[in-house]
Symmetry: C3
Subunit: 444 residues, 3 copies
């Protein structure tokens, strides 16, 4: 029985849509960053949905080529013009303050202030999202039209933040399967009030964890909720003896915001997860792209030293829609239908990874007489339907080397149809499953 | 000297067109099926053209996963309405009776009769073709408009058939060549009054056998005329020690009926016959398709246990033209030009299989001076013609590994031109044929 | 530092354009052929520009399948009609006399003369170019309209040529590099007053030699200026122990005359020079073609016995423009811009061959923190530029097996950007160059 069959019924699906929306609404206003209260609160909220383990790593810890930074606590930030009008206030929108801004207080001329102000001239009413993680600086992001109208100053600046030794936190959730081999699902949790990037990834991952926990599978599933780059590296550094168990993986983000599904291949590009996602995403009208070392945490998982088979699922990728990293990436930018389809596609991908297998044809001398086994229509002379074709293809190609996904691709049939045909033929003694585990065998 | 050169002269071609038409006209009215008098008479008719051996296999014989069925003898069948009007009579058209109908006699209401009546609402004047080989049932096929006008009944049904132990017959013809390696040409003989599917395959195969018998070649040619599926499996079961000698093969059917030539690849898709047919069919404006386990006896030959390199040549394939398996597939549906071109294309494919060879360049240090051997135009400065280009390509690529067909493909020249160039260069001592037998070597 | 950086500055480029034009103007009127004073004078002229060594090989010398022909000295040739009008005079245009014409003097009727007259009916004012190297004959080439108007004769013919034992000359120039492995640059020198084919190849090769001599490189560069076919074979015959040192090569000709750059692949098609030229030429809007054994001296270098990796750079190839091998291929048919771009492209190709290398990622566990090394923009949240992308791609793919050109292709970045990124990363200790020499390693 497939994950899809168990998780996509209508009442289940309705409840899932509602929960995803509510969790996005809860998380939206919080000021997440690499560290600090926003990301702590976010992990706590996830932990009320699924049994998340939260791991804290001290500032200053060496993490491969990186060092865990000081913890950043934004307590308030305000920019006021000469007349006392508030141009930007952290309390109004988390994007107003450049992430990881250092504390500052003072009165500046317009020229002095300008290098600390970020706007989007081409979208004069939107607030951009900017960070200064590894360069000690402060800044404000505000609508371009507001900055244009702000007069000559002087301006009063208050940036009330703390940057002190503390911890970087990430969350982890393991759902054991029959095998120790793992499927990694990773979502970043470091973006403040931005919905498509990254709340969509978080809420779909939470629902996927919930569905899998209800019925454990062949693979062990490991969910990682971590701040981008440094967070995934922290997770990897905690699992130096474990990362080789990850057979397949997916980074989730940007699952709303318009456009068809887009799968980004692993660096190697020929991994089982690439084949599975190609099969599923293309049949849903989506597209597949080659790997690039720009993007989200797939950059770290695919780095040469780790070499994990981790792809990425989004809709229109980062940087290709104008709302990206602006205040226009809000709760109205993502629809429930988009998240529901993304969930369904993910489940189909996992069903391929779980269900792909190699069979041997036990009746290889010509086609078997399906009719005497009740597997063939009784009146001849008409075209065969998908069910018969799936059986014929499975018999024709099950040479002990070709898996069901490869058969489905060559037959241009959905994986589920071929999977079902193999079950019928195996029950009739015409196919026999071999030990070869396709998902695991690709590194042999 | 090629098969093409010997068999495509005008008087020969005219006689061939006439014979093919006459044989189709003779065979058209007969009630062929998997077994019975129709297929016996058909094989006898072929045997008057070429020295066919007819093989009879008793009902009940185990044939791999199948069993030879009882022999079916249709003696008469008639469906009459309440007024005594004849709605369908086997004597009028062989398609009226569902093939392998069991005996039945009785008076039925319209509701009782309906499950036994097959029509084509979308083509109300055509009779469909239906079979019930492996399900004991009876039925009539008739024009939809006639069934619609037939009133409420009652209807009188007479199905006077016998289904008794007997034999399944198939025909075989072997034309020995210099080598024991074989080329298989297979046509099914089980369809009643349908011309494109399958009389075209029969008559083209007969003419090919005639042409090859006149001048035996390198390969041994084996022609099989057998009922579909069970018939080809019977032939294979009689040759358990011999099928491995089949190096190349072609199933022939549907060679008229409109559309360009269509070659269907072997299951493996990279066999010499695939390359030869790709070369020939594409140059004639035809197309090539990948293997699928739906179709004719290529399904059996390509099954994993036999793994024979058997492709298929048709025009528009089965199921893709409305006349398929209906009374509209009649003598007017196929033209003599179509059959003549199919014959020519087949002969070209066989010439490639016969003539492909690997040569070594005996003068590899630069181009040889063709001019001093009378092989080059004497006035320079103009473009080279095909004959010179075929020689230059043959010298450039004859590295002891690359065959003439591969050279022709890379040079985008007809195989015959490269074959001729190799003969000239070998005569001049510039090329030497190697022992490597391309047609046979692909399984090494 | 790249060849491009050193050779494409504005003053250098201006001087180069001027020199190329002047050399073409000097060489244009001379009557070159396989042998004789025209080719001797041409090599002498080249030798005044760069330190060319001229090699003379006696007539009658065996050269692989060929023999060095007698030396041809055209002293005069004139065709006069019955009224004393001169129809063709070698002194007016070198194309008037068929190259390698044997001596002849006599009065002929129009019918007797006709087989010796070559015209272009489709371009009635142009003189064609014809040769009769290996067939003892004589002939005149003239504008079709002049021949049509020439009356019935008789005609007076004077062909004052000598064909006597002498020498075939070719020129050679070696610029030693750090390695004994060679890059071959070859241009033919046997065409009379034709500019695109072949003066463009000569003058661009001369300028390339000048630029390389100013700053020797990793490879040893070998320039060959030789008559077509027999001349390149003579050069090869003098280097029986040396031709295996040629790692990469390019034949140059037809670098003007309109159209984008066209690179013709080596026979094998997958050599480093093919990859380098594909990278450069495509980015300049040019095209790449597969090998064919028709063309220039790449036919000899790529012959099976030599198997040298020699491609060819032209614009619109021979035979595809109407001016080809006619008097319309004159000094106005080629622009300085065309030659300048061809030079730049060549230098880029050589920079790829010189600079391609394999690196190992020394910080493979995740991306390195480029920011702390000053290699990353300090404000985050925006798209990465080419410089950052080139670094990320170089780190992502430097697995000890993938070279910089392959990285540039996958990244869709100019080779120079990736080469620069590798230098930066190597300086920061993040990449280490391996011993693997890509350009040399392809034959291992």
């Amino acid at each position: 029985v497939s994950i899809a069959a168990e998780s996509t019924g209508l009442p289940l699906a309705e409840a899932r849509r509602r929960r995803m929306r509510e969790l996005m609404e809860l998380l939206y206003p919080w000021c997440r960053s690499l560290t600090g209260p926003g990301v702590r609160d976010t992990l706590d909220a996830i932990a009320t949905e699924v049994p998340l383990e939260v791991v804290a790593t001290p500032s200053g810890t060496d993490v491969f080529d990186w060092v865990v930074p000081n913890e950043w606590t934004p307590r308030g930030a305000r920019l006021t013009d000469a007349s006392g009008n508030v141009l930007a206030d952290l309390a109004d929108h988390t994007l107003h303050l450049v992430s990881y801004s250092v504390p500052f207080e003072g009165r500046l001329t317009r020229d002095e202030l300008a290098p600390h102000v970020h706007t989007l001239p081409e979208h004069p009413t939107w607030i951009p999202y900017r960070t200064s993680y590894y360069n000690a600086d402060w800044g404000f992001c505000l609508p371009h039209e507001r900055w244009e109208a702000a007069g000559d100053g002087p301006f009063d600046v208050v940036v009330d933040t703390r940057l002190e030794p503390g911890h970087l936190v990430h969350g982890e959730l393991v759902i054991p399967g029959r095998s120790e081999e793992e499927v990694l699902v990773s979502a970043h949790v470091c973006h403040p009030s931005l919905v498509n990037d990254n709340l969509t990834g978080i809420v779909v991952a939470v629902e996927l964890a919930r569905a899998l926990a209800a019925a454990p599978r062949r693979y062990t599933y490991r969910f990682v909720f971590a701040p981008g780059t440094i967070g995934s590296l922290v997770w990897l550094s905690h699992h130096r003896d474990g990362w080789h168990r990850v057979r397949h993986g997916l980074v989730l983000t940007g699952l709303g915001g318009g456009g068809p599904l887009v799968y980004k291949r692993t660096r190697r590009g020929d991994r089982p997860v690439d084949a599975a996602a190609w099969h599923v995403v293309r049949r849903r009208g989506g597209t597949v792209r080659d790997y690039s070392p720009w993007g989200y945490d797939e950059r770290q998982y695919n780095a040469l030293g780790f070499d994990l088979s981790v792809g990425r699922l989004t809709r229109t990728p980062h940087g290709e829609y104008p709302e990206y990293h602006t205040s226009a990436d809000n709760l109205g930018f993502v629809t429930d239908d988009e998240l529901a389809e993304a969930f369904d596609a993910l489940v189909e991908v996992l069903d391929v990874l779980e269900g792909d297998a190699v069979y041997a044809n036990m009746s290889p001398f010509g086609e078997p007489q399906l009719g005497k086994r009740g597997l063939y229509p009784s009146v001849g002379g008409k075209a065969a339907g998908d069910a018969v074709m799936a059986m014929l293809w499975s018999m024709a190609l099950s040479d002990g080397d070709t898996g069901l996904l490869a058969i489905a691709e060559r037959a241009d049939l959905p994986f589920a149809a071929v999977r079902h045909a193999a079950d019928q033929l195996a029950a009739a003694g015409l196919l026999r499953e071999l030990d070869t585990t396709l998902g695991a065998g690709s590194d042999g």
